[in-house]
Symmetry: C4
Amino acid sequence: MATPQFKQLRHSYGFDDVAIVPGDVTINPDQTNIDFKVEGFTFSIPVIASAMDAVTDVNFAILMSKLGGLAVLNLEGLQTRYDNPQAILSQIAQASDAEITPLLQKVYSQPIKENLIAERIQAIKKVGAVCAVSVAPANTKRFAPIAAEAKADIFIVQSTVTSARHISKSYRGLIFSELRKSIPMPIIVGNCVSYSACLELMRTGIAGVLVGVGPGAACTTREVLGVGVPQITATMDCAAARDEYQRESGKYVPIITDGGFRKGGHLCKAFAAGADAVMIGSILAQAKEAPGLGYHWGMSHPHPAHPRRTRIKVGTTGSREQILIGPASVTDGSQNLVGAVRTALGICGVRTIQEMHKVEMVVAPSITTEGKWWQLSSH
Amino acid sequence: MATPQFKQLRHSYGFDDVAIVPGDVTINPDQTNIDFKVEGFTFSIPVIASAMDAVTDVNFAILMSKLGGLAVLNLEGLQTRYDNPQAILSQIAQASDAEITPLLQKVYSQPIKENLIAERIQAIKKVGAVCAVSVAPANTKRFAPIAAEAKADIFIVQSTVTSARHISKSYRGLIFSELRKSIPMPIIVGNCVSYSACLELMRTGIAGVLVGVGPGAACTTREVLGVGVPQITATMDCAAARDEYQRESGKYVPIITDGGFRKGGHLCKAFAAGADAVMIGSILAQAKEAPGLGYHWGMSHPHPAHPRRTRIKVGTTGSREQILIGPASVTDGSQNLVGAVRTALGICGVRTIQEMHKVEMVVAPSITTEGKWWQLSSH
Amino acid sequence: MATPQFKQLRHSYGFDDVAIVPGDVTINPDQTNIDFKVEGFTFSIPVIASAMDAVTDVNFAILMSKLGGLAVLNLEGLQTRYDNPQAILSQIAQASDAEITPLLQKVYSQPIKENLIAERIQAIKKVGAVCAVSVAPANTKRFAPIAAEAKADIFIVQSTVTSARHISKSYRGLIFSELRKSIPMPIIVGNCVSYSACLELMRTGIAGVLVGVGPGAACTTREVLGVGVPQITATMDCAAARDEYQRESGKYVPIITDGGFRKGGHLCKAFAAGADAVMIGSILAQAKEAPGLGYHWGMSHPHPAHPRRTRIKVGTTGSREQILIGPASVTDGSQNLVGAVRTALGICGVRTIQEMHKVEMVVAPSITTEGKWWQLSSH
Amino acid sequence: MATPQFKQLRHSYGFDDVAIVPGDVTINPDQTNIDFKVEGFTFSIPVIASAMDAVTDVNFAILMSKLGGLAVLNLEGLQTRYDNPQAILSQIAQASDAEITPLLQKVYSQPIKENLIAERIQAIKKVGAVCAVSVAPANTKRFAPIAAEAKADIFIVQSTVTSARHISKSYRGLIFSELRKSIPMPIIVGNCVSYSACLELMRTGIAGVLVGVGPGAACTTREVLGVGVPQITATMDCAAARDEYQRESGKYVPIITDGGFRKGGHLCKAFAAGADAVMIGSILAQAKEAPGLGYHWGMSHPHPAHPRRTRIKVGTTGSREQILIGPASVTDGSQNLVGAVRTALGICGVRTIQEMHKVEMVVAPSITTEGKWWQLSSH
């Protein structure tokens, strides 16, 4: 009998499956530099706020830029459908559980106003903040020129899974190399999770790649479609693509791990896995300045194979600044994310995010539900 | 001392242990073709309803055929024991928990009426639907000629574990190569889970193989007998047998993964593991048209080593059409199964089920019970 | 820098970590032969009742022998300390939780009466039943001659871990090769879990080996001492030792997997791992004829490093015969253990326990707590 | 396409992921010698009490020394900030949950009094006990001469992660080879977890290394920073460094596994992994003589990236002597730790801790939450 040729499966890992090994040298956290650079822009903190209506509006984009990071305004959300999105956000926060699904369906069925796209971008730009905007691939050709005209700084094309080549009978697929020539802004594209998909995206000449499909074990994409790769493996594989692309082209295209973060340790592990920056949504929706007013909801377009939008109460735990820069007022690792990253770099004895890519990680048993009193530290 | 020769154990995986890696190309779901072919029959959706009394009766077999799939009528269930099975189904649904075990024992101890076999088959056939029927190996010689006479289209021989060679002192084992010659219908046989057992079954000349013994970690066969292989590994191994059999014979014999499905993601993973079609029971028992009226029960013959029949309340979540074709009214992935399969193919950049067999999967950490708010997607 | 020489750890597996792969052939269960042989004795069922006071007394030893199995009378338990042990067993069953610990300490501090050893053995022998007795290593020299004199059939020396060589300053270690010459009965020794320890025990000329230290993930030995090997790995390793010993000596010394069993599937897996017989306690303590009257407690001698005795309510689920031979009245796999073993052999296509040693097993995901309705079988 | 160069991850294991394999020989526990030696000092039990205010004060340091072990006085805790620390300890124990955080912040903000350092050391020394003291790296240059002057016996430099080379702009890093020349005491340094970091620390000429960063899956360092290695792997790797250092230098530098212990089995496994001694805190805080009066809290310095101090109620389970030497009054393995270690050595057939380093361990399935009645032992 011939040797059976069974399909082979690689093992993959998420944030809670791994741990970072400290270094042979230690460095004071204040000696670290955690700059994130993307095609001409340098951010002093490598954290990007998601393009979600409960997370990013004009005010927050400005605040995030001041703190040294970046926020992404979703050009297909409430901000560009309503002159006064605050009123809609209040309605969402005040709706009962029974009212919320039809309300969300209704408010997102309003048409996008092109003049509001320009208005929102200009409101961010006029105070000197960096302005990043996002659209889905299908609307890119329509909105990219408007964003370019309004002088947005960074243009993001994002869907659950975006590939360099999309095959459709209803419209011609988006060609990123053509898009790149048609607008003057750096283009970031996502999401992807594999070495080859990431490498192919980079070869189109884009400025950055968003990494993450089905992050976290329980996410909808994995439940409904079975598709997804846990974020540590996805980040490691796309980092390998980035390094390969640098070898072949001489160009360093950063990768941004997007999704699944719940605490500082997760950010540190993403950087150790190879991320250049992280995109976070839910943790920031817990800020008292968040447009979501203590609630959060997904931005996916309704799709017959996808569940509908759900609103979730995330609560309010502190200010945006506390969450990003500290001091922490909670002990679960969801605040002072930047301090955690700097401290982890110091403990690993590295000075930059790129050096952090090389530190050792181990697969560690997942978190138990046993009590924690024996974990107190004497030092 | 000699080197100890320890028994070696391979690792095996179930639906919740793996995840599908998206492709380098993406395709619009409407560009996919998910046909399932078995010896002269082509079904436009690769979904088969189980031969269980709570799932398939004449009406449903017709409905399933109209939707493009297939349903299997169990020739040893209530439909062939009672002129009016609806009355018995109502009794089962209305029985109290205390009454149910003796009631099930009683209703299944009625003799099978051969005239009803013909009647049920003809009722399905007369409206132009495809009719598949199933019997246990021990009754195959008795019922196969009746089913053939009544012009059933597809004949299924199914037990917990069916092998090409069964050794018994009380009756001569069923020889599938002989059966194949004696009846004009394609024969599908199951269940099996290993490469060698599947290959041996295929070599008898049958038209298809059902895959799955003890699917799911908590199933009775695994509890009581310790026997079973998780469905992803079982499917991958039998797919390897199918491919080997094609190499040696030139004939492509499809495999049908049977059992353990709870949501769309599970179907997508079965196809990525190598299934040509899937057989589902419990999800369909939740349909408002289901004969089980919101209840479900196993069809195993009472056996001293097996637990007795148990009735379980599954509830009613939507119409058969919603469950199969959508739109989904629930968010747990148990509806619009076909849409999920098409979307997964699109995300993987493949056009057919057979191309789906080649997509990459990873072993991913199993589903956690942690909250889900950080899983909301911006895209 | 030299390559670090890290300590290597093998993976080990327990009953719930593995599953048996069905065979390429199937056999009717009534065609199987599950005889267990140990030095001149043949038992028609390969099940031995533990030497525990809640499990085995004279009556049960007789019953077990009639059913074709074997029960072991503990010569250091209540049966040999009290003329009327039933009275003590009643007290234990009726004691409150507050009273039980001092009561157990008190009743086991009574001296062992040598005349009762002979009396109990003769009571079993006079009705023609096979009589097996057990003692701890430290008392072997004292009680072995008494058991021999009373014509016990099989002599078992058992402690948590027993090795071929024990080093002590207070007494000269037990030499099994000498013991074997001094008494006419077959000697079974345990417990051990590793290849080398098992092989060394076999080389002393004993008739059988008990396998199992710290069976089950939560057992006391593993909690308090960190010592133990899960039963599937322990059985596979000791089976390798048995096979090696047969190669070097021509003698087949059976191994008996002892401990951790909760249901039929566990027995089937032990045999697939290489066991010749299984020793069960707790499942049998649930019988209505059990001396423990619905309670169960450990027999370990109090030891400063061990927790004290604890009484546990196991309840009463059926008769001994139901538990062993069926028919089952419960659906959790804890009844009709013998039927489960025969059915598993049939599904694997093997006729004997020794052929069962060669069937394939896989590492399978551990049992989940998710609902079970999707596990119902159509066949 | 070039072969992708993915980052590689080793697997790591904690106490509950492994089990010890019994030996081929067994030894009576009273034949074992569990001495722990560190540069001229010999302790008859290899257990060190942590430098935590809820665990070690002058009285306990004396008691621990009498029992044959060692306790470490934290020179930056309450004992050196207050003339009467008992009053503060009472306040902490009596504070309400609302009061505790500000209270802990307040009491630890009092300055350290250098005269109290000398006083505490002399109080321990004057009764003939061995005195070990600890400081953080940043305060080492200031407090080391005072401890030396007061004739402390052993000097410990401890922080979450301590490396041989620390880079800081605010102060010149501590050079252990210089420190060693400046004070006459043996120096123990920690914590570290990797082969290379441990080896580099040993090459500075220190007397011992503390092993453990983020022990336990749920510890704060792993949550907030993502940094840590489970203790079995950390101990095995540092043991490999110790053995390598002995090969290159001829000097045996012991390693002390610190943190994460909850029961006797954990200690036994640490020794089997290669530890020469263990440092425990929380289990000892449960003693009725503990300064914490049934409470326990971490000693970490407040840090923007770290959660603040939390007080946890651990309760009081027995005397220090019961916990260390027995007899045990509880059944969870948290008492008679020394008896457990001796018994484990005996079961493994080894006489010393260093022989214990060589016993086999296996990766074993983690502890389940299933009931335990089937775990009772007949022997």
